[in-house]
Symmetry: C2
Subunit: 583 residues, 2 copies
């Protein structure tokens, strides 16, 4: 069934096939993709569209001497199959063996970089090309870029610089007319014009940047791709090869619904969790706000899926939803402009992607006191590729002057925070949206004093300071500690990680020996360290629980908790080992 | 001498003049600029070139109802003169009254945003335009953008989005053919082609993005500017007005040396400090490296001045210097590519601008273990506009997994770190280059153990842990404490702020009651907090000295030190007030 594919150990084996066999290989790869990704989940749409182009690249170019860089690298599945990792798509036992992104740990020869965020590919390739020229080597450098990545400023910076690198550099633009969601931005009109004119439109974004240009209308036609790649091989200047492919090619439902096919979830997933997600809750609240107030506007930067911005919701918002494309920098500044103009912007963004807007959070939000609501999704410890980890958001936003950063633990708190934040006009507010299912509780947030924390249980000896959803862990640990030692620990819910509730902290000094902080993020630069500094002079013992400063790659959530002593058992054992506070 | 200018209290007064009087006004403004900026320093070149355009904007448009946004906002001096702040340029007593950037604290009506970094202007304007449409207002939104800003990805994101905003939005592109240094990037070829063809070149970057376009060849001709601005006033779609101006116009030396005229220092400055700067030292070392090793390459992102990359040095580096334009994101990823390709990149960047590359520091440097050397200049506490503060770099880089962050205090340490970092192949290294003059000392850095700190003075009772150059303050405080109490404090120089020297910290536990940390950056998320966490369980008292999480605007350096108790006197008083450790 996969006669060719099973025999491919490296691109050398691809180069031994004739074009008819390559076409058979493409069919085999497509079948393997549908089977494997259908089972374990992944970026099915773009990979189905990029099968032929990947074969043609490895067929024409002398990889690994010729260097291939995948932007985002979510389109690398065929590349993995052709570079010794076909088992990951053929053998169900190996389906989870390889990650969904290029990874030098898997193949230092063929995967030059770990990538997962968008728009860096051309920049990386510029570096490879310039290094090649400096050290006097000769080979091709090829960057593979999806059309969705073009909206990102870094891709523009890369293309703009590619022209000045001046030597061999080939950018393969895989244009499947889609980003994660439909593309947004003026450049997509130009891509459309180029497609409609078979690449001959006089106004050409790439040529305007000084880049040479080729167009391949059928980007799933192996013969056409091979001919064009042969034409640009060993070229002595930068060139863009614009190929028009079909997202989801060969899989009927995926071709029909390219947004749903961008990333599919595993088929045999864990049973669906009961209850409502915070994404659903957010949609309900925002739609209500939008219907009552024409100045409320939801902004997203080209990544709607992870934040729950489903197509129906976007449609229901009408002109009060704006997708800026994959442009977190612009989106944050856009929100500052919206706020200044009297609108009430709500920027919904994944923790990992928010990293691209750090400077705008500092300058356009913090320094300008812009009343923007930023809803951060996907933060905390969970099983995900290291490129998409959401463990740096507390560090990133919590230390920026001028930002008010909130971490709700319950439905009531979240709703109160959202309500207050959207309507207030004084400051930028970041809300760390819980990743677990919605749970109810007290409504203890008070917009009149957004820096106040809440004593959930008064006690003595030990005080747990729990940020956001870690309150549940604090409760479990406190109960266990009580059962084992007889103490009744204090439990404080820290609703805000950008400032201290100083009166509350001071009030702990009298009757407590130990403060235990809990946060679902890395400890370095985080919430617990601030508490440790606050108590530094006092003699109060402080124990901080959270993550190490490290990249963890696809570690099961439960493993995270074990590694970081993020369980009630571990915390209680640690406290008892300290030998104090538990008289 | 400034008859018109002295009578202008608001743009209304500009609109009362006829064109001949406006030309006289331009001459007066130019004279005031040369006089005032020549005395107190500032961005003279671009402002001299933008006099007529600013007059024409306020003449034609109905400011403040029509909203004007300055990208970077360093070209706003004429705008300030026409909006009630002429005294700041006419009266030597008031020369320092207004900042060099737009500032709502000075004029909430006319200065909508604080801006200082590059390329955010169009994004802010998109937000204003969209807000206007949402709340049903009608007025013009105008963004002023310099050609240098076009290299920044955020400007591309803004322009790409401007097309989709779809309603009135006017982008005035002030093209003076220069960034801070000569422009770099393919787009500048296109601007050149447009200039050469009076805006009629068929390939047009802006039109490719779906934007309407106008060109004004003489951007210092008031009549031409007024005519064009009238033409686009109240336009119902986004348009770029490309005006060609002369940087330094009207000042002979500035026209002749546009890079030197980008920013001039105050004439009656403080007396030059004695000795060599770390910028000079860096140039000497790098030039030597470059001459001996063709794979060493210096990378800068369009801001050479603040990091000491003077034109002669850039020329001497030849192809081993690369200016990427104002593109920190690209520059960081470019360096990752260079390193992977076998080159040895040294990225020289200002602390404040490095903020734009946060995500690339995480992904392309940290996650990819890219052996890139990042030299961070302009960090710490000193008198500067809040937009350019360099106090967040420790927070930003020190908490990213995979980065090794070093803080030298002396010439010898810096040289050893630089030497080691450039030649090692394992990891990204950030070096916080001292801002003070070069001083000598011991060579205590050891590349074989880059996480080790150094005990500069063994003692007991109190231990000072000083990051980088704060060791001098630690020595003064230790001496003073010794004189007043008889204790001999331990002094530790922390050479690395991305990790702990755990054996050293543990060794302090026996004979010390108090640890005092010192760092020239904000405390939140910084170095001292990590020490506080480390000792949290132990009962060791920890006092952290550094900056508050706040934006301080043009605060004299000495004031900083007072506010933050960053003096030996204050520190000793605080320790004594604690009543421990000084038996």
């Amino acid at each position: 069934m996969h006669a060719h594919l099973e025999r491919i150990e490296s691109p050398l084996d691809v180069r031994r096939l004739d074009v008819c066999e390559l076409e058979e290989l493409a069919a085999e790869i497509r079948s393997a993709l549908v089977q494997s990704i259908g089972t374990i989940g992944g970026h099915i749409g773009s990979n189905l569209g990029f099968v032929e182009a990947t074969i043609a690249l490895h067929y024409v170019f002398d990889t690994p001497k010729d260097q291939l860089v995948f932007d985002v690298s979510h389109q690398c599945y065929t590349h993995k199959m052709l570079t010794g990792r076909a088992e990951g798509y053929l053998d169900p036992q190996c389906y989870s063996k390889y990650s969904g992104f290029t990874n030098p740990d898997e193949s230092p020869t063929y995967d030059l970089f770990r990538a997962g965020h968008t728009s860096q590919g051309v920049s990386l390739a510029c570096g490879l090309a310039k290094a090649r020229d400096l050290v006097g080597e000769r080979h091709n450098v090829i960057a593979v870029l999806g059309d969705g990545s073009l909206s990102g400023g870094e891709a523009f910076e890369g293309l703009d610089n590619a022209a000045t690198v001046g030597t061999n550099l080939i950018v393969v633009l895989n244009d499947n007319e889609m980003s994660i969601a439909p593309n947004s931005g003026g450049i997509y009109e130009n891509l459309g014009a180029l497609r409609r004119t078979n690449g001959s439109h006089p106004n050409n974004f790439f040529r305007a940047l000084g880049l040479d240009y080729r167009y391949v209308e059928d980007g799933n036609d192996l013969r056409a791709l091979i001919a064009t790649f042969r034409e640009v091989k060993d070229i002595d200047h930068p060139v863009v090869v614009h190929i028009h492919t079909r997202k989801g090619k060969g899989l009927a439902w995926a071709e029909g619904d390219p947004e749903a096919s961008h990333f599919v979830q595993p088929a045999a997933s864990v049973p669906p969790r009961k209850g409502k997600t915070y994404q659903e809750l957010t949609r309900t609240v925002l739609l209500d706000k939008i219907q009552r107030d024409p100045s409320v506007i939801v902004v997203n930067a080209g990544a709607p899926t992870g934040v729950g911005l489903v197509p129906e919701f976007r449609r229901a918002c009408g002109s009060q939803f704006f997708d800026t494309g994959i442009t977190e920098q612009h989106a944050a500044a856009f929100c500052a402009g919206l706020a200044k103009g009297g609108a009430k912007p709500v920027f919904m963004v994944m923790a990992t992607f928010a990293q691209r807007a750090f400077d705008q959070f500092v300058q356009e939000l913090g320094l300008n006191h812009s009343p923007v609501t930023v809803l951060v999704f996907g933060s905390g410890f969970y099983d995900i590729d290291a490129t998409h980890a959401g463990t740096l958001d507390i560090v990133m936003t919590g230390n920026i002057p001028g930002l008010t950063c909130l971490a709700p633990a319950t439905r009531e708190e979240y709703l109160d925070m959202l309500d207050w934040s959207i309507d207030q006009q004084e400051r930028p507010v970041v809300i760390r949206v819980p990743e677990r299912m919605v749970c109810g509780g007290e409504g203890v947030f008070n917009g009149a004093a957004p820096g106040r924390w809440h004593v959930a249980q008064p006690g003595s000896g030990i005080a747990f300071l729990a940020l956001g959803g870690t309150i549940e862990l604090a409760r479990r640990a406190a109960t266990m500690l009580g059962e084992q030692t007889g103490v009744l620990p204090t439990i404080v819910e820290a609703l805000n990680y950008s400032s201290f509730d100083e009166p509350l902290l001071d009030s702990l000094l009298d009757a407590h020996d130990v403060v235990v902080t809990l946060e679902a993020g890395i400890l370095c630069g985080g919430f617990g360290e601030k508490v440790a500094r606050y108590f530094g002079k006092t003699g109060m013992r402080v124990m901080c629980y959270g993550g190490k400063k490290e990249f963890l790659d696809r570690v099961p959530t439960e493993e995270f908790f074990k590694i970081y002593h993020f369980t009630a058992e571990d915390i209680v054992a640690d406290i008892k080992a300290l030998g104090i506070g538990a008289q």
